[in-house]
Symmetry: C2
Subunit: 211 residues, 2 copies
């Protein structure tokens, strides 16, 4: 790889290196200095110079992936507009994520990074996942909910949380053990998730006194 | 709290402190020295002295919780012996975990620790979760599988993995936001999981050319 000396090249190299190290070792196990060293920058203040805090670096990695996923989401939404089939809307939830991961080929670290964003208390406080749903995501969720008119709102909210949790953590597991043909694996993973989540959402709920 | 000066007291204090710090900050973000400091031991080689490596410390925390869960598992198995109801066996999978967490009251850190055991590559290598199923767990899994005679083995294995992933990560999320009446919350969480997992396991599977 030719190493660019432009600010944009350095910034990109930091983002790629940080994402890989965060995925493999955990966001809080990696210091800005280790990222600079691994990126071969020689200057161990480079990360701070380009990104300020670790929170800003995490946010920049997130944004780099959220843009292409929004494009896939928009396509999926166009394709299924007007559908009342739960599986179509589950596909709109799952496939922009797995499709984006497939596009990364062997250089896929984002599922493990995203899993940490939804799990680590300090990262959840950044409000990037869960809370920060885009307007396309809200449209998809609303359409999905319209397929489930009989589900009590509290149960529906619980199952939304289960679905998000399952998608991100299953993808993180698959990404950690990536096969040669990752595109086929991601497609099969998406199909398996849509099947399972259709059952999860449609399952009868036991009456609970709380919620 | 009276601080015991016996070796057993020191060992227990290290275990409790380490578990809480691992849950809150991540197993790889906490050093043995920080654990010694936080446990008020003054001697920053105490952790190494009592446990050797961090892997041994992680194993000791795991074993401290696996024993009481096995007791709950045995009771659940006795209660449902001979049942052919999928929900009974899902209860045997879910409730020994949520029941044990409920028994910990406000001092519950284990779900977040267990979530890391199933997620972190370096911790998964220890083979404590996933791989290291006890014979009671294998008996429960076999009984659960007998309720699903029409599910292809590859799909069943995928859904077993989804179920394990969902249980541990949902419990980790609930534990991080523990209400005053945690026993009632854990019972409701278990009911919600059994409902959702019954749907997940029973959902029709799309034919896939791979697997």
């Amino acid at each position: 790889m030719t190493r660019s000396r432009t600010p944009e090249g350095t910034r990109g190299r930091i983002l790629e290196t940080a994402e890989r190290m965060f995925a493999e070792h955990g966001v809080f196990s990696v210091s800005n200095r280790q990222i600079s060293d691994e990126a071969g920058l020689g200057n161990n203040t480079a990360v701070s110079y380009h990104f300020g805090s670790k929170a800003e670096l995490v946010r920049a990695i997130y944004l780099r992936h959220s843009a292409p996923m929004e494009v896939l989401r928009e396509k999926a939404l166009d394709e299924h507009a007007g559908s009342t089939d739960l599986r179509d809307w589950l596909g709109c939830v799952v496939r922009p994520f797995t499709g984006h991961l497939a596009s990364l080929g062997r250089n896929s670290w984002y599922a493990r990074f995203a899993a940490q964003l939804t799990t680590e208390p300090k990262l959840r406080e950044l409000g990037l996942v869960d809370v920060g749903q885009t307007s396309l995501q809200r449209t998809i969720t609303a359409a999905l909910h319209r397929c489930l008119p009989d589900l009590a709102p509290a149960v529906r909210a619980e199952r939304d949380e289960m679905a998000r949790t399952l998608i991100v953590h299953m993808c993180a597991r698959r990404e950690a053990d990536l096969p040669e043909d990752s595109a086929e694996m991601w497609d099969a993973t998406a199909t398996g998730l849509v099947d399972a989540l259709a059952g999860l959402y449609l399952a009868p709920a036991t009456f609970k006194s709380i919620n």
